[in-house]
Symmetry: C2
Subunit: 331 residues, 2 copies
């Protein structure tokens, strides 16, 4: 296993500790619950936004905690939902008079943990609502999912809802807004290689040297089909066709386009995908008004990418344009 790791069982805690050490003025780490939270949360004037989900998708979600984005993340172990007591204790610690919003990617394990954690926290007087993200068009049901999976598109939901929360929007308004963004967001991903969970120490699945997995899930779940390895343009065209026809996005639409790397793909390659996707969308009369090229929701060291479209309107653009101050400081 070619990874930076000490004890594989400490992979997630050591990573979270590193995130906290890098952001001492803005983030607080509570090791008991894998909890990364803003030091200024909860705030009486702001709904608290909480994401859990498994680890291994960084920067989602421990590294997108901060002003204008999440108030807290309480991830489980690699590719595992957080235990329900993480959700319970996190919800209690983040309890604001304006409430706590759970933002959940649609996986059965995550939903169970958050449903139970919510129920227990509500019994202790915390007001909680839930926002479900399910942007992946690849498959209707999946290994760990009833219904569509939630993948990289959850960035857009968090960004828009986070901006509104920062402005003091109430929890029902955030749910409305988040559901609206989710309803116009679609993603499909594909893998060139498998990934290696630290505790397993070997690749999660086998993929031949001349194969790729179209529609792969962010935990290595099977996608639509395994195909012969193709060139970049062919891959983009197939992802785009699947995504565009799903909503569908139509001629004259303004969209945000995200090319998201899955962890092992260098950013140079992602811009090759971006160029093709941009041109093909323009050819369809769909206008890319905002773009996101880089790693947003990864699968450990998997080589691969996903393509996300969001249909834009003024309300969504305002949210996406709002400032955010998160754990990742780039330049």
């Amino acid at each position: 296993m070619k990874k930076f790791v000490n004890d594989p069982n400490q992979f997630v805690p050591e990573m979270l500790k590193g995130v906290a050490l890098a952001n001492p003025d803005t983030l607080r780490y509570v090791p008991e619950y894998n909890l990364i939270m803003r030091v200024d949360a909860p705030n009486d004037d702001r709904v608290s936004l909480v994401q859990g989900s498994g680890s291994g998708h960084e920067p989602a979600h421990a590294m997108i905690v901060g002003k204008g984005m999440l108030d807290a993340a309480c991830p489980g172990d690699v590719f595992s939902a957080p235990p329900m007591d993480y959700v319970l204790e996190t919800s209690k610690m983040l309890a604001s008079p304006k409430g706590v919003l759970h933002i959940i990617n649609n996986y059965t394990g995550d939903r169970m943990a958050f449903d139970m954690g919510k129920e227990l926290a509500e019994a202790e007087g915390v007001q909680i609502k839930t926002l479900l993200v399910d942007d992946d068009v690849a498959v209707a049901d999946s290994t760990y999912t009833i219904g569509r999976r939630g993948v990289a598109g959850n960035f857009f939901v968090i960004k828009v809802v986070g901006a509104a929360a920062e402005q003091g929007a109430d929890i029902d308004e955030l749910v409305r807004l988040g559901e609206k963004v989710n309803s116009v967001t679609r993603t499909m991903g594909m893998a060139l290689t498998s990934c290696t969970p630290p505790a397993k120490g070997s690749p999660l699945f086998d993929l031949g040297d001349d194969e790729m997995e179209m529609g792969v899930g962010i935990h290595g779940e099977p996608g639509r089909r395994r195909e012969k390895l193709a060139d970049a343009n062919t891959i983009v065209d197939e992802l785009l066709e699947a995504v565009v026809t799903d909503l569908p996005y139509k001629k004259g639409d303004d969209v945000a386009l995200m090319i998201n790397g899955l962890g092992g793909t260098p950013i140079g390659e992602l811009y090759i995908l971006y160029g093709r996707a941009f041109e093909q969308l323009e050819a369809r009369g769909i206008h890319v008004r905002r773009n996101y090229v880089g790693e947003y929701c990864t699968s450990l060291d998997m080589a691969g990418a996903s393509l996300t479209l969001v249909k834009l309107d003024d309300e969504i653009v305002n949210g996406l344009s709002a400032p955010a101050d998160i754990a990742i400081r780039t330049f």
Copy 2:
């Protein structure tokens, strides 16, 4: 080869085109010279900052062109210096009455291309000075280098010089400032895996499943030695010892710490390295005041990382704190 690529010979142009398409309001792409430049350059009130070097190190340097950073990058092909006519034509197009500053990582090929390009451009009336970056402590001379190599530390030189250029500093002042930053910046990197250049289609060098290369260069050049694969803490401690003792950084120093991923390593692992490095520096009485965790100067899809320290003073902190608006828009 598990890469997003069409024609390997078009890898760099297609990448650069993607960068330009993603930044239509701020960047201009001149395909003839692999040139990415700011649309508002040259500017009469600002020295123009130009970097060349090979491709395959993204985001360095085509993706760090923008306000507060570079005015232009004219990269060569993957791991190849730009042809001298790229340097010549870029220098002419970027000619400002305040001059053009070439920022060069210390590799023989790059120095030759820039020296010749400079001479030819000067003959046409362009005022040019040169800033050399050589932060890599791993080896004294190397495969492609007489003297030390320039690696990820060049980010700090560009950031501080870029901030001063934006304020209208003259070219001699920029040279003084850049040489000062370079003189207090030290880096060492290591590889867990090789990388695969698109045109070669196979790994650049062989590294056993139980091996790592300490002190590797960003083109896969051999480092200090090949060792048995070690855990994350051991790797950090070895990099840190090499870097700290080189300047040396001393008890009471304030530093910036960069953990730079080499392209194939996910950001979660980089934060594990960061946590260890931070704690070990504190134990030495060296205080980390600014941190940079992510990909800054990569080697295609190489799994690995480098560690950079910069000794801080007020002047350098001011430059690092200044705003920058570059091609990579993260959140």
